[in-house]
């Protein structure tokens, strides 16, 4: 139940990828027929992604090496290209680290970055967003949905405000794509990052949607592939796989999301009712169908993960003890949790393989684990133990 961290590649995706490793190994830049074949496969994959996100035409989708590169390219590429128009970038306080860090490095180069706060559910504060955008603002970067607390942001409204003020909107949709229907045209999106692995495609490939007419410059230079925006010989098998994954996601999204939402609600309800002093992180209704983030007072996330692992359940936590730094997740802190509360958070992300039985298993197993850890903890109040 830790699908955000890594998803298996769908067998149907694997099947279509296979021939492109040794059968159709042409370079799409070549003029001969081997090259043509590869080019055709690549454009085919592009068209499938265009269909998934509702873009206008294939030229608006650029393949990259993954969600992180897409975010970097969108933020740095737009910032450098539009330097003459302003030096201000706006983003939210709960962005993925691959948005946070490019912004931080831009600060060193003389750009100003403003972080817009979120409310306790993780929804962006639209009013303060309107206030912080100035005529110097060139880019606003907001995630479509947060992979950690699952909150889906009101992108359409955000896009309206951003466009009224004349800035560009970049959306990090890595966690959302394939989970919820996205239409870039209707939702006022100028740039959007997506990743292949988050919709059961292979790793090492992603895409950036760039609306026609958006000023952007490459951050990787070379042979001018992907119309100059991402140089380097295309990773055809992975791209084909991503195309297939997008195709499957488009067809199955509606049914699968409904199924996952039901499982998710069952899981959340079961945990909150079965365990005293437990709370839901993130928005109760506006959340990703696969995401359940629950926090338990008085105990620590890493112990929970290890205990669940012993029972064969994988999940992750917002706790500092599981990360390389000392800080708990910045997302959990941004929605107003205290350090000790963030420590006791547990994140379940469901996927295609998860069934009703899995959820029942966790709902049955976790109360005992929590009880055991609370018995060890000196922080637990006496009345909870009896």
């Amino acid at each position: 139940m830790d699908h955000t961290a890594g998803m298996p590649v769908d067998p149907r995706v694997l099947e279509v990828m296979q021939p492109y490793f040794n059968q159709y190994y042409g370079n799409p830049s070549s003029l001969h027929s081997w090259g043509n074949e590869a080019r055709k496969a690549m454009e085919d994959a592009r068209a499938k992604i265009v269909a998934l996100i509702g873009a206008k035409k294939g030229e608006e989708v650029f393949f990259t090496s993954g969600g992180t590169e897409s975010n970097n390219l969108a933020i740095k590429g737009v910032a450098y290209r539009n330097k003459d128009r302003g030096n201000h970038i706006v983003t939210s306080a709960i962005e993925h680290i691959s948005v946070m860090n490019p912004c931080k490095s831009l600060v060193k180069e003389g750009f100003n970055v403003t972080y817009v706060p979120v409310d306790k559910f993780g929804v962006l504060d639209i009013q303060s967003l309107g206030k912080v955008i100035t005529d110097k603002t060139i880019l606003v970067s907001v995630m479509y949905a947060n992979g950690e607390i699952g909150t889906v942001e009101p992108i359409k409204d955000i896009g309206e405000i951003v466009h009224r003020k004349g800035a560009l909107l970049h959306v990090d949709a890595v966690a959302a794509v394939g989970q919820v229907p996205i239409n870039v045209e209707n939702e006022n999106i100028d740039l959007m990052s997506i990743s292949s692995n988050d919709m059961y495609g292979p790793r090492g490939v992603g895409a950036l949607y760039v609306k026609t007419g958006t000023r952007i410059q490459p951050i990787i230079q070379g042979g001018g592939q992907e119309r100059g925006l991402h140089s380097g010989t295309e990773n055809i098998p992975a791209i084909v796989g991503m195309g297939k994954a997008a195709e499957i996601a488009k067809v199955e999204m509606k049914v699968e999301s409904e199924r996952l939402s039901r499982l998710r609600d069952k899981l959340i309800k079961g945990l909150l009712e079965g365990i005293p002093s437990s709370f839901l992180n993130g928005h109760p209704t506006q959340r990703l169908p696969n995401n359940a983030n629950v926090r338990f007072s008085y105990i620590e996330g890493e112990s929970l993960i290890l205990s669940l692992d012993m029972l064969g359940v994988a999940c992750s936590s917002g706790s500092a003890c599981t990360s390389k730094t000392l800080e708990p997740s910045h997302v959990l802190l941004a929605i107003g949790l205290k350090h000790e509360e963030a420590h006791g958070s547990l994140l379940f992300t469901l996927g295609r393989q998860n069934t009703k039985e899995d959820v029942d298993y966790v709902v049955n197993a976790l109360p005992d684990i929590v009880k055991r850890l609370r018995a060890i903890s000196p922080l637990t109040p006496k009345e909870l133990l009896s």
């Binding site: 620590e300 996330g301 112990s303 290890l306 706790s319 599981t322 350090h339 060890i376 922080l379």
Partner: protein, 497 residues
């Protein structure tokens, strides 16, 4: 990540629980303490920890101010360390105090890449010369656009000039404050009031600037400009204004201070304040910039202002000698920092690049990194203090960020004939914390008190087959808990005799 042994102990921890009437109880997470005169950064100023009350907020290691939950104190006799950092001065801490640092001393200098050093809370015992302290840069920003002129106009005052009721916090005002803090004085005896600035007669451009600033903010013209052969004194007569400056910015050179809200203004606006301050009390050329003041508060505040602007500096405290009072000076020698400062102060200098980085300090990820140059063990007998801080569980002294963990783990022991007959623990924490607690109780059970005192953190980690480096400090508290429990028992026994 963990060894089999760790997982084993995590799965079935031994000796878990509590002993109702234990002979000795040791709690770790809150034994850390400072000497009473250690300075702590609060929202008012740097004040000795002995004077800190729960009304104040203190700066945490995340660069924000947090509420104090509790001030604890105990008497302590034994070893204490004076840890001196290169640029910021020294602090006295007990050996088990957790300090935010990078462990760098065991790498040869030339292989000392920053990515190899692990940022963690280290106990004072482990730190040595060459390790790097992380000092958080105060990052809380709150913009104040206007402040009220909160001094009432005296009832029968019909003569004094009209002043605005609200003062816009703009560059003019902030520069005026800077000039006042460095060069100004007020007279507020009886009903009269004077606000005056004394500049050197060479600083003609600053004199004109000060006059313009005050005219712009308060609409006042100088009442008198007195020039002698080497000084120029500008006087403004206004009882209200003089009292306003006295209330907010202090009266008399020793008491000068910057109000807290001004310390939190956006960087851009603070530049004006720094500009005024440096033009008055400062000195700058293409090699070094220097700022001297006799106000302790102001010195520390200017230091924090510079940290906020990521200007590398050295802070020095000079004892009184002869006619000179105790003073504080701040030096800026680093090329980049100097460039930044010249821009802020508004002077144009031809910079001469130095070959060597004079300060071994740097800024990274919101922390000022400063090497330790001396760790001096001393003996101490007296009261020591600690704070419990909400949310971030840490606070900042004049030279380092210090941790207080809250009550993280407790060890209970039952003693018979100087042997540990029974031992139990309770702990809040990750897998490693539970496993180390369990292992420690395992090791200590049946041992004599003397033997048990010898069990160290390293022993515990070794018997578990090793711990990941990042877990060595935050999760390996049980040995300390055991020692605390034994000491508690010995103390109780002593008292019963």
């Amino acid at each position: 990540m963990y060894t089999e042994k760790v997982m084993e102990h995590f799965r079935n921890p031994r000796n878990m629980g509590e002993i109702p009437n234990a002979d000795g109880v040791g709690t770790v997470g809150n034994p850390v303490c400072l000497a009473p005169d250690a300075l702590v950064c609060t929202n008012d100023n740097f004040i000795p920890i002995a004077d800190v009350s729960t009304k104040l907020r203190v700066l945490g290691h995340d660069g924000k101010y947090h509420r104090i939950e509790k001030v604890t104190t105990r008497s302590y006799r034994g070893k204490i360390y004076r840890i001196a950092a290169h640029n910021l001065g020294s602090t006295l801490v007990t050996p088990d105090h957790h300090i935010l640092a990078l462990k760098a001393s065991h790498f040869l200098r030339k292989y000392r890449s920053r990515s190899r050093c692990i940022r963690d809370w280290y106990v004072a015992d482990e730190l040595e010369k060459g390790d790097i302290l992380l000092y958080p840069v105060p990052s809380e920003t709150r913009d104040t656009k206007k402040i009220p002129l909160d001094i009432e106009r005296p009832k029968y005052d019909f003569t004094s000039k009209m002043l605005p009721d609200e003062i816009a916090v703009d560059n003019d005002f902030l520069r005026t404050v800077g000039y006042y803090l460095s060069e100004g004085y007020v007279r507020t005896q009886r009903s009269k009031g004077t606000l005056a600035f004394v500049f050197s007669s060479k600083e003609e451009s600053y004199i004109q600037d000060a006059i313009l600033c005050i005219k712009g903010t308060f609409g006042l013209e100088p009442a008198e400009i007195k020039r002698s052969h080497n000084a120029a004194e500008i006087k403004f007569y206004s009882a209200r204004l003089a009292r306003f400056f006295s209330k907010h910015f202090g009266e008399g050179a020793v008491n000068k201070r910057i109000p807290h809200w001004m310390m939190m203004l956006p960087l851009q606006e603070q530049e004006a304040l720094l500009c005024g301050l440096w033009r008055g009390d400062g000195y700058i050329n293409n090699q070094v910039a220097k700022f001297v003041t006799i106000s302790e508060q102001l010195a520390f505040q200017v230091r924090n202002l510079l940290l906020r602007h990521q200007i590398i500096m050295s802070f020095l405290e000079r004892p009184a000698s002869g006619i000179h009072k105790k003073n504080y000076s701040i030096y800026v020698k680093d090329d980049k920092s100097l460039e930044k400062l010249t821009r802020i102060v508004g002077v144009h200098l031809m910079m001469r690049k130095k070959l060597k980085n004079h300060h071994k300090a740097w800024f990274e990820n919101g922390y000022f990194h400063i090497p330790i140059w001396r760790v001096e063990p001393l003996t101490y007998d007296g009261l020591v203090y600690n704070l419990e801080v909400e949310e971030c569980h840490s606070y900042v002294s004049n030279s380092m960020a210090l941790h207080n963990c809250g009550d993280l783990m407790t060890i209970y022991i039952k003693v018979k004939d100087d042997r540990i007959e029974d031992i139990k623990f309770k702990t809040f924490g990750c897998g490693a914390a539970i496993a180390t607690s369990s292992m420690t109780t395992e090791l200590a059970k049946g041992k004599t008190l003397e033997e048990a005192m010898k069990i160290s953190r390293g022993d515990v980690a070794d018997s578990l087959g090793g711990l990941p480096p990042i877990k060595m400090h935050c999760s390996n508290l049980a040995a300390d808990g055991l020692h605390a429990a034994i000491q508690d028992y010995l103390k109780k026994r002593e008292a019963n005799k």
